[in-house]
């Protein structure tokens, strides 16, 4: 088993699933000969041919629409949106069409497909290559939303998403694409269930629920806090819809304090759902208000390094928030 970073894990998941199931196919802009702008599909076209790894025209609505057509015909398309920021031209296809196929046909049809998209900032991507739009998709019944943050999770969850009978929006934190490497299990052993969170750091003083790149930032913040003897339990949700409420409730009942950390702009982010739900369910256990630590309400992060830094959460900012919560 070789060590793999997150983008290699994605590629490995695609490769294994395409070998396992001839119905699995990949489509999107530049996914073919180039292997994707982040190399997530590198070499797949050489291996599986121009049909199964198909370079589409530059038109996201039709990428989603064509994927839907393939899914309706019992293929298992994995469509790539080059950046999550560019999934909006496909919003109607995703929300009005794909998400509702099963419901509107009263179960006669289904739409098993995956839409992959790199998400989040911190790579000088500026306003249009840095957005974290998960909240949009998490509000849509009929969709599942996955956002892994380690190579093993990315591989295991992408394999599960491809096998899932329902449409899955699969967001990949691009800041972590070439981050830490891990040895990855292969084949069936790699599979991970959707909808299950993971406690990435046990702790007794407060619970920090997060996902995506913020997992790493929160881990670093927790390390800072441990110097102050504040012991943070960190939960990485991994799947946002459906999310693992039980694991979260157990932790908050134990610690009595909850911070939700997310990279999207604060207002209306998915962290609001997490905070609202757990503030209600854990009311009797809470020793302090549920705190949200999120990015500022600006239309996405600027290109300039100084402004990008001002926008992004980092270990210090998160540690500040956690410290305030611990001291409440």
């Amino acid at each position: 088993m070789a060590e793999r970073n997150l983008v290699q894990a994605i590629r490995e998941a695609l490769l294994e699933e395409m070998e396992r199931d001839p119905r699995v196919c990949v489509l999107g802009e530049d996914v073919g000969r180039k292997g994707g702008v982040f190399k997530a599909t590198e070499g797949l076209q050489q291996r599986f041919g121009e049909d199964r790894v198909l370079d589409t025209p530059l038109a996201e609505s039709s990428i989603a629409g064509v994927a839907q057509g393939l899914a309706l015909e019992d293929y298992r398309p994995v469509a790539e949106m080059q950046f999550a920021d560019y999934s909006y031209p496909a919003f109607n296809q995703i929300v009005n069409e794909i998400a509702r196929v099963r419901y509107r046909s009263n179960g006669d049809f289904s739409c098993p497909l995956v839409i992959r998209a790199p998400t989040g900032g911190g790579v000088r991507g500026a306003l249009y290559h840095s957005q974290s739009p998960e909240a949009f998709y998490c509000h849509v019944p009929g969709l599942k939303v996955v956002l892994p943050s380690t190579p093993a999770d990315a591989k295991g969850l992408l394999k599960a998403a491809i096998r899932d009978p329902d449409p899955v929006i699969f967001l990949e934190p691009k800041k972590l694409y070439r981050g830490a490497r891990q040895e990855l299990p292969e084949g069936e052993a790699a599979l991970l269930p959707l909808g299950v969170a993971t406690v990435v750091r046990p702790g007794g003083d407060l619970t920090a629920i997060t996902y995506g790149f913020m997992r790493l930032v929160t881990l670093q913040a927790a390390a800072l806090l441990s110097r102050d003897r504040i012991d943070v339990e960190i939960i990485d949700l991994r799947t946002l819809r459906p999310w693992d409420i039980e694991t979260c409730v157990r932790s908050v009942e134990k610690t009595g304090r909850l911070a939700v950390i997310y990279e999207a702009n604060r207002t209306g982010g998915f962290g609001a759902e997490i905070a609202a739900e757990l503030a209600e369910r854990c009311f009797a256990s809470l020793d302090a208000p549920v705190t949200r630590i999120a990015s500022p309400d600006v239309p996405a992060m600027p290109f300039s390094t100084s402004l990008e830094h001002a926008f992004m959460l980092n270990p210090d900012k998160v540690a500040d928030g956690l410290r305030r919560l611990a001291r409440y």
Binding site: G65, G69, S105
Partner: protein, 328 residues
Amino acid sequence: MPTDDRSLTPERVLDAYRTVLRARALDDRRFVLNRAGKLAFIISPRGHEVAQVAAITALEPGRDRFCLYYRNFAAALACGFTPEELMLSAFARASDPSSGGRQTPGNFGSRRRGVIIGSSTVGPQIPKAAGIGLALKWRGEGGLCFVSFGEGATSQGDFHEGMNFAAIHRCPVIFFCENNHWAISVPQRLQVAGPGVAERAGAYGIPGVRVSGDDFFEVYRVVAQAASRARAGEGPTLIEADVLRLQSHSTDDDQRAYRDADELAAEAARDPIPRMRDALIDRGWLTPEGDRRVGEEVSREVERATEAAEAAPDPDPASLARHVYADG
């Protein structure tokens, strides 16, 4: 494989004629029920019936796929929906085969008949059909996908994206535009720049054909020709059927408010059904007496269908949250 006029036996044409009459009689009955307060919402195919039935007659329900739009009431009958089934959906009964009463009538779907579940949204079925066409091409069994829409839908970006994709990949798709020259209250001159819809095919390097939608034999011929092309791997065709909208857009609309009274009267006099009847009588395939008999049979069918549907049970409120996901 019906590829030209010759396979059009008198039996098949009389069958199609009966389907046209059925559509008209059912629709008339729906309006009576609507005025009686029993049906909430109708979109009438009045004026489109002959074109719709002719098109489907040239294809192979069972083998082909059909992405219909809300005005395709007559096409749905031609695809095999029974009068009772369409009445069940008009009454939004639990046993409505398209959606179990979940969608407004007009969103047809039936997996076993190859009728892909539609939605009320104008346009998204077009790239979806391109994707279905791609799947059928990969499968290589000669099936094709028929997708229909109004001229208003051709203004959507999805029209362009679907045409472009299908043309690039030579997908076996028939794009069938029922141009009734109105999109609710918007006339063609404010909707479609340029000479017309058929001419748009040139932009994609595929054939574009305009046909008079009240001529059963002509519509049959151009659709059969497009089907031969599609099945032979020669790619998609765009057909523009010139039709009349002899009713208001829907029961929520009154076209007298925005259309010229003389024009409406002139169009009413050009109802395509008498024209089809006369053509059949001219050919000696139908007698006035036979016509009367078919009419009576159809009336009885409509009666029975209405009674059965009216008596059928509503969906169980407890089923509201079923089929959001596979496991629900």
